[in-house]
């Protein structure tokens, strides 16, 4: 009750000019934030039509491959998302260079095409939570329990494919890890073979190549933490907040249930 009195007293001393100011302030606040919370039409249309149009470039196996019918990790992920949202999935194919433009001019609703989160594009686009890290990982021998990360490589040798992103990451690590030696080989498989033979302490390879090789070469394992991060995410138009929220909810469910890892594992082997 006391507070009511305070409030009423405050109102008593305010002039009509103040009321006008408050009105403008409140209206501005409403207008400012109404833009952030309004539903875009994309999710409404997807739900009304019962179809989500997924744009992709079908030339990047094992994520998307158009040879012999459309297949790959992104295809399975899109289908799982469609099932969770209770809608059909329609795939729309573009060249890699045209993907973002296609989304911008509404040729599709989302992009699921192994696209790395790019901060420079966030003026027009928004990204979901990452669903895969295509960065560099250490491949280790299962017997080398003492070696888990690059910091354990002081005085040791890491093998890499010549000129690869793993090679550049190893050069960069030489600034931080004392006496880190680099052995260069023609392919990622050659680099991992040296680990299997215990000629080097580990290989620095991207996650896809690493898991594909480990799948068929018992005795090798992936270090738990990545050395570099290249996060793949789903892309939507900047204004489609509600669609992005929905996709993140679905991705969260797929991650929690283990289905996302199951989809990835089906194509490149288990983690």
């Amino acid at each position: 009750m006391a507070s009511d009195k305070v409030i009423s007293r405050k109102y008593e001393v305010r002039s009509p000019k103040w009321r006008t100011c408050y009105f403008i302030l409140i209206t501005s606040f409403f207008l400012l934030f109404s833009g952030c919370t309004s539903r875009s039409q994309t999710l409404d249309r997807i739900q009304a039509d019962g179809v989500i149009r997924v744009g992709l470039d079908p030339t990047f196996p094992p994520f998307e491959n158009g040879d012999g019918g459309l297949h790959g990790i992104d295809i399975d992920l899109a289908n799982a998302i469609g099932r969770e949202m209770g809608i059909e999935v329609e795939f729309v194919l573009f060249g890699y260079d045209g993907l973002y433009d296609a989304l911008l001019i509404d040729q599709c609703d989302v992009l699921i095409s192994a696209l790395i989160i790019d901060e420079t594009k966030t003026k027009d686009f928004a990204y979901s939570e990452p669903y895969f890290n295509a960065g560099q990982f250490l491949v280790l021998h299962t017997d080398s329990a003492a070696v888990n990360s690059l910091t354990d490589f002081e005085g040791k040798t890491v093998s890499v494919e010549t000129g690869s992103a793993g090679h550049v990451a190893a050069i960069s690590a030489q600034n931080r890890v004392r006496d880190l030696r680099i052995q260069t080989l023609p392919t990622p498989d050659d680099a991992m073979w040296t680990v299997l033979q215990q000629e080097t302490a580990g290989a620095l390879v991207d996650q896809v190549n690493a898991r594909l090789y480990i799948q068929t070469h018992p005795g090798l394992t992936l270090a738990p933490e990545p050395i570099t991060v290249e996060p793949y995410a789903i892309v939507v138009r900047k204004d489609d907040d509600d669609l992005l929220d929905e996709l993140n909810r679905v991705l969260d469910r797929l991650t929690s249930s283990g289905e996302l890892e199951q989809i990835v594992g089906q194509w490149i082997g288990t983690d």
Binding site: Y96, I116, D118, E161, T162, H167, V168, T184
Partner: protein, 358 residues
């Protein structure tokens, strides 16, 4: 009273400490590239690099790699306002640091300001009504940097619809632009060479909405009198998935395509040097025409050695590209020689080795 004075003095000290640090980027003593492979050049990407120390470090590393020449893009649209005023600050920075490092500069001029083109056209649109404006700007640019500048490239890849603002890609129009620009530059900066062409390697047939086969376009350029206005031909030649020694064929896009260009030049009696202003291989797994990273290194170094040893009429072979200010998160990152953080990629070291005679 004393404590008030003390507080005042402390405040002044704090304010002095908060003053921005002075510009610590100094040119340093003049340098000269030391290279056993003087044909080696590189296309830098300094247009969007706003920090002076990064411009300096890029050009230092270019020289330390053993390159003698840079190709750099100077967009007309970024510099000249409708009033005619020109913002010289950024090109001044690039030119003074290149000069300090002893690097030859080949400047590519392109992109039309909004005031010099119709509404709803792209930056690449340059209509005949604005050729004189382009020529005047280029002549002023050449005059300002006459001491540092080796050559000017007039426009970029005009045989592509995208690069020609989606107008019909006619070589005759391009030669008109070339003629006006060459005449203007020769008046203000007679020592600066005029290069033209810089065509995109493509097999697009006549009538294609996307562009025109570079060999056909070049032939049409010479038929329209291009030789009178050129001191040399700028060439873009990429290896795609082929090794550098693969022989040239009109129906194949590969590194030695520049030899076919040379044949057309000689057919028209134009025995002038060729400047390869873009070349290279890409090793991004995403790109369908990519090679393995190790192949990229071998092909690129072998290509430079091949040019140096076998084609004396090639003045420069500039690798596309040195570095981008930030990652592009796409296959373009796999063309660079150093990372945005200035970490030398193995291809940089390999080029440095051949340029130092190792």
């Amino acid at each position: 009273m004393f404590s008030r004075l003390l507080r005042g003095a402390a405040l002044i000290l704090i304010l002095v400490a908060l003053k921005p640090a002075p510009d610590l980027v100094v040119l340093g003593p003049p340098q000269t590239p030391s290279s056993t492979m003087p044909v080696l050049g590189v296309h830098t990407r300094l247009t969007d690099e706003v920090e002076e120390w990064k411009i300096k470090q890029s050009l230092e590393m270019v020289r330390e790699m053993g390159a003698t020449t840079i190709v750099e893009f100077f967009p007309w649209a970024y510099y000249q306002g409708e009033s005619g005023g020109i913002a010289w600050q950024h090109p001044d920075l690039v030119m003074k640091h290149a000069h300090a490092q002893g690097l030859r500069v080949i400047a590519r001029i392109g992109l039309t300001p909004e005031w010099a083109r119709p509404e709803e056209t792209t930056l690449n649109y340059l209509g005949p009504e604005s050729y004189a404006d382009f020529a005047a700007f280029t002549a002023e640019f050449a005059a300002r940097y006459e001491d540092e500048l080796h050559a000017i490239i007039v426009w970029n890849e005009p045989n592509l619809a995208f690069e020609w603002g989606y107008q019909p890609t006619t070589a005759a129009d391009y030669v008109h632009l070339l003629a006006q620009t060459a005449a203007a530059v020769r008046q203000t900066a007679p020592d600066v060479l005029i290069l033209g062409g810089a065509l995109a390697p493509t097999l697009e047939p006549e009538g294609s909405p996307w562009g025109l086969n570079d060999l056909i376009y070049l032939e049409q350029m010479y038929a329209a009198g291009a030789a009178d206005h050129l001191d040399g031909l700028a060439v873009h030649t990429y290896g795609f998935q082929f090794p550098p020694e693969t022989p040239p064929e009109p129906g194949l896009l590969n590194f030695r395509r520049y030899e076919l260009y040379r044949d057309i030049m000689l057919d028209y009696g134009h025995d002038s040097p060729v400047y390869i202003t873009e070349t290279g291989w890409n090793d991004h797994p995403r790109w369908t025409r990519a090679v393995r990273p190790g192949q990229r290194i071998d092909y690129t170094t072998n290509a430079i050695i091949q040019v140096a040893e076998q084609t004396p009429w090639v003045e420069t072979a500039a690798i596309w590209m040195f570095r981008t200010p930030a990652p592009t998160k796409s296959y373009m990152d796999a063309y660079s020689l150093v990372t945005p953080e200035f970490i030398e990629k193995p291809i940089y070291t390999a080029l440095q080795e051949i340029a130092s005679g190792e």
